[in-house]
Symmetry: D2
Subunit: 345 residues, 4 copies
């Protein structure tokens, strides 16, 4: 069945899988001490234009968020996130499990606005009782956001400036980073992300890998004895090569960006089909996830022939649904979707 | 270079990798809801002779230990382990990170003796102040142990009986389970393990997979909403297929046992070579890890031509080292080792 | 200087202190096993009209909240609270420190409305991805709330009904319980609180004790081996008598209610003075805390002669301040305040 | 009934209680911001000969241990303690609850020997896999120990030197500090403790207070925003005066030392009586706790007329019991014990 359910519904990009097979028989040291990890790190440092970056591989997104946040926060601190931030609503309380609070702020289309952040911090420090409250110790954003939206250079710079003024790190969850950077709406490059944030990760799971996220500490700020902290959280892979080889492949000849660009193109064509079919958009997403509003009947009919994601109830008779593209989405899939939509009108 | 460094120094068994490639393009639901996970679970239930078993896949051993222990213990309980137990010394405090104490007991060749366990529990409940102490809420053993030794049926039955008498679960860490079951010294079958323990896991990482451990709850005792608890610990894989496909392959046509048997055969040949070379054994391991004592000079010479594991200092002039076999160890490797040992005498 | 800063700014009610002195020399068992603790528990059970209640003493409010919530929640659950709930904003993340999320809902004058709670729970279970989210496992309310407001019998019954429908406990933080029960606006009795909630605590610290909160589990639902869990959280007092003797005194001859009634009377007189002085109320509090809006100049003048609490900025030129009464507030204090307000007009 | 059950079986020393009564009506700021706390801190700094010491009050011993250890350790570190250390066996896993491991080392009469510590640290860093293990991040000792024994100046200096060489703090649990310092066997002064350790606490609960431990950070090493961390652990007292007033009293005119000296004198007389009665000592304790071995029959007879502590089974027919003295032990009590022992021979 046609599937736009998610960007992690197929395996790895063939080039990634090929490298896993080619290197499979080599005996290598475990726990990330193999040359593929080292090579991948070097390529990522280059791609980030940040030679001093410290790169670490983790298995998944929720894990990366929890590990990064809990090792960077101090005991008395929490992390600021948009109410809709992934860590706030969809990670089963993984940050709180580490003993730290997520400090909710309002969002706009999934983004934290600079003015909102500024006010939150100012109010916090103006409160005479703030020592009884969780200190704001980090700002978490995602790029693209859960709504598929992206920060402009101006917006990201503004957040970055505020974080620096308060001396707290800005952490960017890049589970879908490629899809943000390759969006036509994007006015940022990877090097800008590295410059404006203090730590971020380059998502592999949703951009062509079987698993894996590359965490990049950009300010010589990797927590001390990070590997031990990773192990302590059950997040250290014995066969670290699984991550090293994949990221080495993704950052060879620009594959990561190529995969991302492809998915964006497919998403743009898909969006065109939705417009053509006069299906209303829930919001304007410039990335690989498109959110549309379907009549419930229409949704039920469609469901029988194509897989997509349920997002949320819109009203009694309508539902917001999500269609995602990825490395494996083909022109054929898009065409098939066009046909389907015609039938299901 | 010749490598007997560990049983996780090469990638996946070719048959496992092949299945990953064959299924790679199929769009599948995430988070373990795919048919390969289901199929693998069914095969594991059969292999365990335990149709009611609840099987869950996790990524690695330390993670499996921490997740199982912390979701099964009650607030006021800790887990009993041998002083040499992996969770006690070599997991960076992952159990304690979940808020639970590891209660150390003495070991013999890495094993907990029934008499020792019995006394520990009796003494605990005899202490009038025991409510100020951590309750013993689970027993953790590994099979094979960190020293490559295995429990006999009699020994495991004795531990199992004590646990039942005290109504606490017996948890068996089977990171290298296959190597125990295929050992010539083994008088147990997988179905016995399932019967005698309350929960155990079948290690994939060290027995032919890229990653993955299959946790088996054998007494309808899987913790409620386990998936949410797994997510909360950052241990839920988006592309759960990576685990499902691998375990499906490992439990098709007995591959898991075949891999294990092969490694045992290689280890037995290796042991014969060590005996031939008159190298003293540190202890008698019937599994895929062989521990020998080398003179430091000899060790330095060998190191230049073969990779092996440092285990511990024996005395001022000797060191205990570990040689491990796995799916990828060949007869040629063993022969090469024989030649090397001759040279390095 | 005149002080209406808080209801914990003086020591213990003289009758409480007297009992501490009278019993001081008696040798007694530690950790709450003394007869005063037992006697106090029995009196509290009677006062609650709940003979099967299980009563436990803890030292302070944040501690009581964290201990109760973390021992009653299951691993995958969090606690619902109003955004303004004390656990959400003013306890330095003590609940999150135990590994559980506080699930914020909107409030009205510090209270959770039944309709809001109902919708939150219904939406949660309607979400197809809810297993990736923190399960709502308890509802936390305070009585009186942080704004000094109280739930009516109807409101509390509605919350209680919803909790029962979802089989989650309703937990009432009664740090200032007496001031709620003795309010003229109150249409509930202590026995109603015991009936409608699953667990609550009777605040001592703010109602005449030096320290101490009496947690009441009303449905035979005290967590197993609670004492060990309390010890594990560093919350077990060696000289448990300190709590037992104080609560024994507070629940002898209705002292707890007498203290509370006195503070309410003082608060009512204070409110009359504020009305007389035409000082606008921030909200209508029927309990021992009164919130008024002062011009900043006026506030500065007043500050020199009377202590009160800063609550929050109202606008550029006004501030919300809090005046609290307690066991030690006298008619003389109220008169002095009247005079002061006249001068400071 | 005659009671030597513990040193916390009676209330506060009368002079302490008197000060609580005298200051009871004064309106004071909460959370430790009152002048009595400040005054007590100043007196403690003086008594410690350490003007730069940072003093913080906590409620109890287990709490103090957990708060200090968890705020001073880094994420990847654990705390070294003797197997018999209070944190290791008798605090219900309070340290592990904070996510940190207690690293057991062997003891001699409850003390950690310098050679043992040295070897433990050297072995740890010699292990090539030590990054997979918990880093030793602090050394915990108690003074007196759980066995009533005390470190000599030489012994404590040796431990201190090792800690400094490894740059890890030495933490001394002084729940019974006074009884150590006032022992005839003691060759240390409070100022030496302050100098040789990095943090320690002066126990109040067991030395004349109703509750309270004064934590002393001696090297300008109080964790940042300590008050917030204390609150986060539910350990912040609203009426902080309760601790401030008591410690102010204890450190006025040397009361703390006077109480301790008195208990030591009583213990010495008690020991003489035991010798006279030819009761064998379990070990030689120079402090306020005496451990003797009783025949089980004799113990049963004694139990009817005097309360003492059960320590541990000695053999089938003998038991180790503990007799403790405190501020409230009188010469009359000692005489009564002498008579009793004569009768019970």
């Amino acid at each position: 069945m046609l599937s736009f359910e998610s960007d992690y519904n197929t395996g790895a990009h063939p080039a990634v899988l090929k490298r896993l097979a080619e290197t499979n028989a080599e005996p290598l040291p475990g726990y990330g001490a193999d040359p593929y990890c080292e090579r991948a790190k070097e390529k990522i440092r280059k791609a980030c234009g940040c030679p001093e970056a410290e790169v670490e591989f983790l298995v998944g997104g929720t894990q990366a968020n929890a590990v990064v946040i809990s090792t960077m926060l101090r005991d008395f601190e929490g992390v600021i996130a948009a109410r809709t931030g992934h860590i706030n609503g969809h990670e089963a309380g993984a940050v709180e499990y580490t003993g730290h609070k997520v400090l909710e702020v309002p969002h706009k289309d999934g983004k934290i606005e600079a003015a909102v952040l500024k006010k939150f911090l100012a109010d916090y420090y103006a409160d005479l009782n703030h020592e009884h409250m969780v200190f704001p110790g980090m700002v978490y954003i995602s790029y693209p956001t859960e709504y598929g939206t992206i920060y402009t250079r101006e917006e990201l710079t503004a957040l970055s400036d505020i974080c620096r003024a308060y001396r707290i790190p800005l952490f960017l969850d890049g589970a879908r980073l490629g899809y943000g950077l390759m969006s036509s709406a994007c006015d940022l490059e990877l090097a800008d992300i590295a410059k404006l944030t203090d730590v971020f990760y380059i998502g592999g799971t949703k951009v062509g890998a079987l698993c894996g996220e590359a965490v990049v500490f950009t300010k010589k700020n990797r927590p001390c004895h990070f590997m031990t902290s990773v192990k302590k959280r059950g997040a250290l892979l014995a066969k670290g090569r699984l991550l090293g080889v994949q990221f080495d492949a993704l950052f060879t000849d620009g594959l990561y960006f190529e995969i991302s660009r492809h998915a964006i193109e497919m998403a743009e064509e898909m969006a065109a089909i939705f417009r053509e079919a006069k299906l209303p958009f829930y919001l304007n997403s410039p990335t690989n996830q498109q959110f549309i509003i379907l009549e419930n009947d229409q949704m039920e009919r469609l469901k029988k022939q194509v897989r997509f994601g349920f997002w949320e109830k819109y009203d009694e008779s309508h539902t917001v649904v999500r269609f995602a593209t990825g490395w494996s989405t083909t022109k054929g899939d898009i065409e098939a979707l066009r046909e389907l939509l015609k039938e299901c009108q």
